[in-house]
Amino acid sequence: MVAIPSRHKSLVLLAGVIVLQVLLLAVQIKRDSEGRLIRVWTVGAVSPFERAGSNGFGWIRNTWRHYFALQNTTRENEQIRRENDALKLQIAQLQGKAAEADRLAVLLNFRQSHGEVPMIAARVIGAGAGTASLTIQLDRGERDGIRKNMGVITPDGVVGKVVEAYPNASQVLLLTDKESGVGAMLADSRIQSPIGGQGEPLLVMKYVPNDDTVNLGERVITSGMDRIFPRDLPVGTVAEIKPGNPFKQIRVKPAANLERLEEVLVLPSLRPLAVKSEQNPATAQPSGPGAANPSSAAKQR
């Protein structure tokens, strides 16, 4: 036996022998899922220090960033705020462009579905200067083929007619204006009557006798009698019916959103359009003999 007299040496020897045997244990044991136990122990022994080091470094870094490295924060904050404002503006512009693209897509789809009918697409660039008349101004004029008294529509329905055509612009009298009028008829009963504005959001259908039956929500379409609009274009729906003397007082809600017009179509000719309506498909089917086949009706004219 090797005699080690020093008690201190014996403690060291004890520690060394224990460590050796622990390592011996580790070399022997292999876990199926984790590999050699010595590796598990090594990782287990080292990882707390790594974690502590990482946490300590993270703490120091955060302390530096949050408390000492704030010199440029105000400047960066202002810059970020400016960028944020610019991005908000850009988003608003993009949203507007997206909405415009949607509207133009609807217009394009409408035009493509009526490819045989000539139409001039125009953008609304202004409105009437006063309240005396309800007009809008288009960015297309005589040079684009627009003439006075041409009909103006949207895919939703009738908008009005061109009252003035300038070389590069034109003016449209909206359907709701007091001076405006269009030949119309009730889609179900085929009762014809001119319809016009009163300077209010709702239109008035004149000259419908009290004896005739008119239903609320009934569609009103163009009759083609005014020689401005082709027949069967949607004008609006019956919103209010009152008995009058000698005619009913019928108020009609315009089919087109006349208060928010941005793009419109100008009709250079009276060729009929087969307008599809999603409001009431059942009633959208023309019941009159002349309306059964618009193309044939046009030929008859």
């Binding site: 036996m1 005699a3 014996s10 020897l13 022998v17 045997q21 622990v22 244990l25 580790a26």
Partner: protein, 175 residues
């Protein structure tokens, strides 16, 4: 030496010498008996003769270094004889520490009295089992109960056997 735990200075403790090869032979005998008797007497598995030998020579030699080295050698040998399910070092670590503790205590306490030997053996046996459980649970991740009645009974049996075994081993001393 009437007091079992009579604390003395190290200068008053007698370091016993053994005949040549006595420690090796006693160790080998303990290992052989330990592996042989349970085959015929299942109750003999309660005994841990290598541990008793470790405790005896540790208490007698009273040198921590030799005690821990002897404990390590006996423990590793026991590990080697315990089959592949027992990794080398399980008993080795436990007996190394027990050898160190026994030799350290033997240098300070009178361990010649049978009662002292019985009490110390009981304590060392419990500590030995505790070390094994710690090694299994912490180092080997093997579930092992801490203490139970079986441990107490085994500790008592080993402590009683140690009294007689140590008397036999005393005959191996030179003086």
């Amino acid at each position: 030496m009437n007091g079992a735990f009579d604390i003395r200075g190290e200068s008053h403790i007698e370091v016993h010498k053994f005949r040549v090869g006595a420690i090796i032979i006693a160790t080998l005998m303990a290992l052989v008996i330990q592996t042989w008797t349970p085959v015929h007497f299942s109750k003999a598995a309660l005994l841990d003769l290598p541990l008793l030998v470790t405790i005896y020579f540790g208490l007698s030699r009273r040198n921590p270094s030799t005690g821990l080295l002897l404990g390590m050698a006996i423990g590793l040998a026991q590990d080697s004889l315990s089959g592949p399910t027992v990794p080398l070092g399980l008993y080795g670590i436990a007996k190394t520490i027990i050898g160190y503790l026994a030799s350290s205590l033997g240098a300070r306490l009178d361990t010649e009295h049978p009662a002292a030997r019985c009490a110390l053996t009981f304590a060392f046996f419990v500590a030995h089992q505790g070390l094994i459980v710690v090694t299994r649970r912490i180092l080997l991740a093997q579930p092992e109960p801490w203490f139970n009645m079986h441990l107490i009974v085994a500790a008592l049996v080993n402590a009683l056997v140690a009294v007689f075994l140590f008397l036999l081993l005393d005959r191996l001393r030179k003086n």
